[in-house]
């Protein structure tokens, strides 16, 4: 723990810290371009020069290890002069096109030039011009603006694990490019846009759309996967303009996946903005709320509880599900389910369906077994964390499931479920590695659990955890990797078949037979709708996707950016989403729709405000009141032993970019999907 003096204040920093970190510790701001907390140190921009006692010249603070007794000063004339010199060199080739640059207003170079720039240039030669580089449908390049900080190169190599970006040439001719200008094949690629300190890499879908100071910024939570990445939604008027990551060390650090960032243009397309009723000819006709309720309420009043069923979709907030659960309870229907993919998980014990090790716990793991999942596309930010651990500790990772490139080397165990029994018996080679490990992790994906024999696989997961000693006093190595943002909250509140109720498969069978006459699909689109052909389908949701097409009546609701809500991520961490814009047209917030309809159907759920609903929800599920704390739940036996089916293990997602109603409606995601599929150069430019 070296102690050093920065501008007269003494600070103590951790071993291995740099002078720059010590300055920050002392509350002194040091300008920088190439240095970034989460990337390796390059030391090539020279902007962070500081004076060090007994050093003959200013030192680059980002690359200088803090030493005992150093005396650092950052406010001397020499430092200012040196930084001004660096700035002058940076601006030699940087175009002065801030008025037409998308980075304007949030540009590190622009900001720091205010402090260290000259009022005029002494450079009279021609500036260099650099041709644009193709980097796929998300990243727009204006490489003339590049100052060669190499943050993007280090990010793609170190964090994303796709070493396709690089700097070719030397000296004045250095250029950043991808190998042969291919699309950057990473699910995290767009983070380089945030990293770029200048306007060289900017967002292509957001090009020339808005200026940062025009936007209202709302802090919220992502629902594109179940990780619950912290995001900031920037909106102008009634439209969401962009989504940016928000720092949360224990969840997403400061990265988000491309889908989280760019599926938002799907929020403008295919929206349900008024109620629809299917008429006698079988066509969906627009209607008013009153007309819709006039059709629906008497119908629900007339039907018996057991003749109705509700299925909750993957992106719902907890309040919506709780309102729906209360409504169906009042209707006396036991048929409710939040597992539309048919995952064989039960609502108890809680540790059976959580990511118990926590996301931050990945950093401590020393062996990982991934079963029936492809974390690279199911939770890309989590996958980057596994990769980081691999780079630090070379931990052994085994992968059982459909073969995939996870960006770090894995021991591929094939896709035969039989292997699970072998591991559970302790005879498998990797079981021994897990057993030896102090903090082993077992990550089970939906690909393993949504099968007909999911409960047996779940039980094997328990057996493996027990066999290898994955659960101890301060470590729980059993982890479930959910795909649906709503799933954990749903299971927490028991949005599963009540006494005598049917699960999704049962509901579908009963609906096909005509025993269930009304099916309430709340944002549930990821199912084959053919079974519901004979039943009356109510679709509540925000997009005209599969569910809406099968519906007899459509009630337009709010997307995640349009409502306040509680989400629980796969760690069991409770987080608040917030409204950035209002739902379009006649669409209303989900809970309000249920509230109004319940009144008309003669069994009011009784909450008049969202706060009242929340209080009732928290009363029923007390841990939802504990915000931002990952769960640590008691370990108990789960799963149901059974015979395994002779089917290969697959992963639940086949395409990263198009996995939900919003991303399927997004043009940007479609372009990414196409680029990823064919890897051909985008001819749009």
């Amino acid at each position: 723990m070296p102690k050093l003096t920065v501008n007269g204040t003494e600070v103590e920093v951790e071993d291995g810290a740099t002078v720059l970190q010590a300055c920050e510790e002392a509350g002194v701001e040091v300008p920088r371009f190439c240095y970034h907390d989460r990337l390796s140190i390059a030391g090539n921009c020279r902007m962070c020069l500081v004076d060090m006692e007994r050093a003959p010249k200013p030192v680059a603070s980002c690359a200088m290890p803090a030493g005992e007794g150093m005396v650092i000063s950052t406010e001397t004339d020499r430092v200012k002069q040196a930084r001004e010199g660096v700035m002058e060199f940076l601006l030699v080739n940087h175009p002065l096109d801030c008025p037409i640059c998308d980075q304007g207003g949030e540009c590190d170079l622009q900001d720091q030039a205010m402090g260290y720039g000259h009022d005029c240039s002494r450079y009279s030669e021609n500036k260099r011009a650099v041709s644009e580089k193709h980097m796929g449908p998300l990243i727009k390049t204006v490489m003339t603006r590049c100052i060669h900080c190499t943050r993007c190169v280090r990010f793609s190599t170190e964090v994303a694990g796709v070493p396709e970006l690089g700097a070719i040439g030397r000296g004045e001719n250095v250029e950043i490019t991808t190998y042969l200008e291919q699309t950057l094949a990473s699910e995290l690629s767009a983070n380089v846009i945030d990293l770029c300190p200048v306007g060289a890499l900017t967002s292509r879908p957001y090009a020339f759309v808005a200026r940062p100071w025009e936007l209202t910024k709302v802090e919220s939570v992502d629902v594109m996967d179940a990780m619950g990445a912290n995001i900031r939604i920037d909106a102008r008027g009634s439209q969401v303009m962009r989504v940016l990551p928000r720092l949360h060390e224990d969840v997403n650090e400061e990265w988000i996946g491309d889908k989280t960032r760019y599926a938002i243009d799907g929020l403008k397309r295919q929206r349900l903005d008024k109620p629809y009723i299917r008429n006698a000819e079988g066509r969906l006709m627009p209607a008013s709320w009153d007309e819709a309720f006039a059709v629906l309420a008497p119908k629900m009043k007339k039907l018996k509880g057991a003749e109705m069923a509700a299925i909750a979709g993957d992106q719902l907030d907890a309040e919506t599900m709780f309102a729906l659960k209360t409504f169906f309870h009042k209707l006396d229907s036991p048929h409710i389910d939040c597992r539309q993919d048919g995952a064989k998980i039960s609502a108890k014990p809680r540790s059976s369906y959580l990511f118990n090790s926590t996301i931050a716990g990945i950093d401590d793991a020393d062996a990982i077994l991934i079963i029936g999942s492809n974390p690279r596309i199911e939770a890309p930010v989590l996958n980057a964390r596994i990769r980081r651990n691999y780079l630090h500790s070379r931990l052994p990772v085994a992968h059982l499931g459909a073969s995939a490139d996870l960006t770090y080397p894995v021991e591929y165990l094939g896709d035969d479920v039989g292997q699970l029994e072998k591991i559970a018996s302790g005879k498998h080679k990797f079981a021994k590695i897990l057993k030896k490990a102090k903090r082993p992790m077992i990550i089970m994906g939906m690909g393993a659990l949504r099968r007909a024999d999911g409960a047996a696989i779940h039980a094997l997961g328990y057996q493996i955890a027990e066999q290898v000693g994955a659960v101890s006093k301060d470590w729980n190595g059993f982890n479930m990797l959910h795909l649906a943002a709503s799933r954990v909250a749903g299971l927490d509140m028991g949005f599963v078949p009540q006494k005598g109720g049917k699960d999704v498969a049962g509901i579908r069978k009963a609906a096909a037979k005509g025993e269930i006459k009304l099916v309430w699909l709340h944002g549930a689109d990821e199912m084959d709708m053919a079974d519901f052909a004979n039943s009356f389908v109510v679709y509540v949701g925000h997009h005209g996707d599969a569910g809406a097409q099968a519906a007899d009546i459509i009630l337009p609701a709010a997307a995640y950016t349009e409502k306040d809500g509680i989400y629980v991520n796969f760690e069991g961490r409770v987080q608040m989403g917030a409204r950035a814009v209002f739902p379009p047209g006649e669409a209303r917030e989900d809970w309000a729709i249920i509230r109004a309809l319940s009144e008309r159907a003669g069994c009011s759920i009784g909450f008049d405000t969202l706060d009242a609903l929340r209080s009732a929800l928290i009363e029923a599920v007390p841990h939802l009141a504990e915000l931002d704390a990952p769960a640590s739940e008691k370990w108990a036996k789960f799963g149901r032993a059974g015979k395994l089916l002779d089917q290969p293990l697959t992963s639940a997602l086949s395409s990263y970019h198009m996995s939900c109603a919003i991303s399927r409606s997004s043009e940007t995601m479609a372009a990414c999907h196409l680029a990823a599929q064919s890897d051909v150069l985008d001819a749009a430019e």
């Binding site: 650099v130 580089k133 690089g166 070719i168 040439g169 001719n173 190998y179």
Partner: protein, 209 residues
């Protein structure tokens, strides 16, 4: 200098190391421990270039990346950083003219002008006959005998306009003159002949003091 401008437009469909190259590669790889074999990237690029008419096709870069377990981009970065790797075809006679300060002070501009006059090529170009290429490079490390041309693997030193012209004439006539100083300077002694210790007189009174 986009990627198109630094690599050749016409690329071969494949690249295979010859038997002699393989032997050389083995020799170089043996110098490094297995987990540090990426250190051999520069010798391997050189081997590829020598085998392939003095330039490196992209297929060779991919082959080297494969062998050394490194990303293709990293190999391309190395190959594009150093001027001694050619990513485009060059002529049979490849002039690398040093233009750094000492050579410049001693007349490298004349050398470049001579090449331009005789062959009509500037830096980075190949002559119409396809036999000659020229590239202005940074310091070749023989400043004592500036200005210098590196012709393929050999240094020609102490050049001026006339001697460069004579060199080109001889090459065009099909013979390669001996390399080294064109004014027959020995090693890096002064151009006026050896001077060191010459002024020391044996019977000097001061010699013993």
């Amino acid at each position: 200098m986009s990627i198109e401008s630094i690599v050749a437009e016409q690329q071969p469909d494949s690249f295979v190391f010859s038997a002699e190259s393989e032997a050389e590669i083995k020799r170089h790889l043996a110098k490094y421990p297995e987990e540090r074999k990426q250190s051999a990237v520069m010798p391997l690029l050189d081997i590829a270039q020598r085998q392939h008419d003095n330039w490196i096709p992209m297929k060779a870069i991919e082959e080297i990346a494969d062998r050394l377990d490194m990303p293709k981009m990293r190999v391309l970065e190395v190959a594009s950083f150093y001027t001694m790797y050619n990513l485009k075809p060059v002529g049979k006679w490849f002039f690398q003219v040093c233009g750094t300060t000492p050579c410049m002070l001693r007349g490298s501009d004349d050398v470049i002008r001579c090449i331009k006059d005789k062959l009509d090529i500037s830096s980075g170009e190949t002559s119409a006959c396809g036999q000659f290429s020229m590239l202005e490079v940074e310091c070749l490390g023989a400043c004592v005998n500036a200005p210098i041309i590196q012709l393929n693997d050999d240094f020609y030193e102490d050049l001026d306009y006339q001697s460069t012209a004579a060199l080109i004439d001889q090459l065009q006539a099909g013979e390669q003159p001996p390399h080294g100083s064109v004014i027959n300077r020995q090693g890096s002694e002064a151009s006026t002949g050896t001077t060191t210790l010459k002024t020391v007189k044996k019977d000097s009174k001061s010699a013993g003091k």
